[in-house]
């Protein structure tokens, strides 16, 4: 019985329960709905919830626990000699699961009879043929004991699923009856529904928070693992980034400083571009532009924020890089060796950040009360004097917040750096040198073919953690500043 069907049946039970609950309570008051505590739909919804929620919860729990239980059951049935042939028990179990899945597939596609799939004495070659015909991969690891274990696995799982089906359907029916019993005119169905909605919202919020926690935990554990293999002082204070990949052997230098320097250098170039342009654009839009121009220009500027960063990366690689080469390259000023450089990535990233700075600053400048402008104009100040001396100082905390948010975007940016700045980790002051950032190196460390337990791969988590702490710090500062600013005028 596929999962979709089980869910469909539960839903059907719940829907019928809804209608019955509604009808029952209306009958109880002879159609006079003023005598009900809640609207009829609430009684229906109450039945629906009591049918649906316990059944779905049971389904989820069953689906999580059953494979764990069956795994332990089957692996305890395997003899020691079966396990010894394979590299690890995990691999044997994976093989068994794959074979069981293959049998399922073969039976479903008709290349193997159910009897053959269940026959414990079945010939291994016959079964293997059937499996191959059905399109599953059969490795040499499929031996007689593994096949038997797979058959056993398949049988237990099958029984488990049948039991699960009945348990869940009974749970749904039981819930529906429980709900129907409560469909009395004086039952406070509205409150129950209200609580259910609340629980749903709490669940959604907790999933978001728990996921964040999970991400942080996985970062932390892997980072700790990395620091077991590689000294923390060398990571934080090392000035050389030279990972050696397992094939070549030898020790790696995994100093984070060149990467942090690259990150900050590129971010600084980007912010130098984005802050003045974004801020001036915001001032124009909020103070000078007529409503019609503003209505057109603001969305147009915000389109910049919607361009995927890979497209910016292409722009850096194919347009900005060659353009800079024409001016600073070997044929001209001679200080730029290749199109990929801090400057290339920084300029393009700056363009990407303009809408972040301008859109937020525009909102903040608009939030400065009109009374401030009136006061300044009333004293005979011109427009630009008013902006310079009253509006910008009043909006400054908010603008700083906007800039810090843009900065944390810049620090976390990857694609533009990969395509625009090159891959050389280097400590240099020349903005026309190729450099790389923390994020770009995380990508290259994890996409290589290094063993996942090696320091060369695990360093990615330490890098991620470093970056996370830095951007988190920036975000906290930004939010604090923005909040403080808000208090001033509210």
């Amino acid at each position: 019985m596929p999962l979709v069907w089980i869910i469909a049946i539960i839903l059907a039970i719940a829907a019928i329960g809804f209608l019955l609950g509604r009808r029952r309570v209306l009958q109880a008051v002879q159609g006079d709905r003023r005598k009900l505590h809640s609207l009829p739909n609430y009684y229906g919804s109450n039945v629906l919830i009591s049918a649906l929620v316990p059944a779905l919860l049971l389904l989820i729990i069953w689906l999580t626990l059953q494979p764990i239980y069956v795994n332990s059951l089957v692996s305890s049935g395997l003899s020691v000699s079966d396990l010894e042939q394979a590299a690890s028990p995990d691999l044997v179990m994976a093989e068994i699961r794959r074979t069981a899945d293959g049998l399922e597939l073969a039976v479903a596609s008709g290349t193997m009879t159910e009897d053959l799939a269940r026959d414990p004495g079945a010939d291994i070659t016959e079964v293997a043929e059937g499996l191959q015909e059905a399109g599953s991969i059969v490795t040499s690891a499929v031996t007689q004991p593994i096949l038997r274990a797979a058959q056993q696995y398949r049988a237990i799982m099958g029984t488990g699923y049948t039991m699960m089906f009945w348990a869940v359907v009974l749970m749904a029916l039981g819930g529906a009856f429980w709900g129907l019993r409560n469909a009395r005119p004086d039952y406070r169905a509205r409150h129950t529904v209200e609580q259910a909605i609340r629980a749903l919202l709490v669940a959604a919020a907790s999933i978001a928070i728990l996921t964040t926690l999970g991400i942080i935990l996985s970062l932390i554990f892997n980072t700790i693992e990395f620091f077991r293999l590689y000294p923390a002082t060398e990571f934080f204070f090392g000035t050389n980034w030279a990972p050696s990949f397992s094939g070549r052997g030898g020790a790696s230098d995994l100093g984070v400083l060149p990467l942090l320097w690259g990150t900050f250098y590129i971010s600084i170039v980007a912010l130098t571009v984005a802050i003045p342009i974004g801020l001036f654009a915001a001032i124009y839009l909020s103070e000078y532009a007529s409503p019609r121009v503003r209505a057109m220009a603001k969305p147009a500027l915000e389109v910049l924020a919607g361009i995927p960063t890979i497209v910016y990366g292409l722009f850096a690689l194919l347009t900005v890089g060659p353009l800079l080469m024409k001016v600073f390259g070997p044929d001209a000023l001679g200080i730029m060796q290749a199109g990929t450089a801090v400057m290339t990535a920084g300029l393009v990233m700056g363009i990407m950040l303009i809408p972040f700075v301008s859109s937020l600053s525009d909102d903040i400048i608009n939030a400065v009360p009109q009374a401030m402008r009136d006061g300044s104009y009333g004293l005979g100040a011109t427009k630009s004097e008013t902006i310079r001396k009253v509006i910008l100082p009043a909006a400054l905390p908010g603008v700083v917040g906007a800039i810090l948010l843009a900065a944390s975007r810049a620090i976390g940016e990857t694609m533009i750096v990969v395509l625009g700045a090159g891959a050389a980790a280097r400590l240099s002051l020349n903005p026309f040198d190729a450099m790389t950032t923390v994020t770009a190196k995380i990508v290259s460390q994890l996409t290589g073919d290094a063993d996942f337990a090696s320091p060369e791969a695990l360093v990615a988590f330490a890098l991620g953690m470093t970056l996370f702490v830095i951007t988190l710090g920036l975000n906290i500062i930004a939010l604090t500043i923005v909040r403080k600013y808000r208090e001033q005028y509210d």
Partner: protein, 265 residues
């Protein structure tokens, strides 16, 4: 008869600070001010009264061309300040506003120190040659704003930290610091409690010695207390303009009488 006419013309030459002739104001299609003629005297407090939306604030904002900052507003007719039309293309509204100061309904100190709030106008107009002169201007303005004693020890504290009444007096001091000739006040006490209102009213009376003060107010008692002349606006028309005593005791127009006795508005 001839004599009185002569006396009136003599008055218009010496003491008329602002004279408005056939002033019309439109907000888009809305005709907000209809054909207003008024002569405002120097060294006098003139009150504009009338029900909400009657155009008194709009007219006040015409006198220093603050309506220029509203895109849809359009002003027709002449407003003469010392005989010079302020809507003449040659007139710079920025300079005009330095001469015609304004105090707003809600106290609006800048989020700066008390000192910087008052020094704002003198700084942008270059009224002081050095720090000492600026200090002097600030002190004089704060004294005229009747707030010097309260703030002299904390001039570097933010102006937004003062109480509402102090903020409004700070705003008056700020307006006075640019040495204006006319002071426009748009319901300056509507956001203040009775004690702060009394302080500001007392201040307005003192300011009369140096400036021509025009005040828009919703409170008829306030108009009666502080002003010498009163103008009653209704639905964009200037209904009646006369000595305050006369307006409140023997109004000529039935609409004025209805308003001050509380039957309309």
């Amino acid at each position: 008869m001839y004599d009185t006419q002569n006396k009136e013309s003599a008055l218009s030459q010496d003491d008329i600070k602002i004279s408005a002739r056939n002033v019309q104001v439109y907000y888009g299609d809305n005709h907000a001010i209809k054909d207003v003629n008024v002569d405002i005297e120097d060294k006098t407090v003139t009150a504009f009264i009338g029900p909400s939306g009657c155009g008194k604030s709009t007219f006040l904002r015409c006198i220093n061309r603050m309506n220029d900052t509203i895109d849809v507003a359009r002003v027709e007719g002449d407003i003469l300040l010392d005989g010079e039309n302020i809507y003449d293309p040659k007139v710079d509204p920025v300079q005009l506003r330095a001469k015609v100061g304004m105090v707003f309904q809600k106290p609006n100190p800048f989020p700066k120190s008390i000192y910087d709030n008052v020094a704002y106008g003198p700084r942008i107009h270059g009224l002081a040659r050095n720090k000492a002169e600026l200090d002097e201007i600030v002190e004089r303005a704060l004294k005229r704003g009747a707030i010097w004693e309260e703030v002299k020890d904390r001039l570097t504290a933010p102006g937004t930290g003062l109480s509402g009444g102090q903020q409004q007096r700070l705003c008056i001091a700020r307006a006075v610091a640019t040495e204006p000739e006319v002071l426009l006040m748009d319901e300056p006490c509507s956001a203040l409690d009775p004690i702060a209102t009394a302080q500001v009213e007392e201040l307005i009376d003192e300011l009369r010695q140096n400036y021509s003060v025009v005040i828009v107010t919703h409170s008829m008692q306030q108009a009666a207390r502080v002003s010498q002349k009163t103008a009653f606006f209704h639905l964009g028309n200037l209904v009646e303009y006369d000595d305050t005593d006369k307006i409140f005791t023997q109004p000529e127009d039935p609409r004025t009488e209805s308003y001050i006795t509380g039957r309309i508005g």
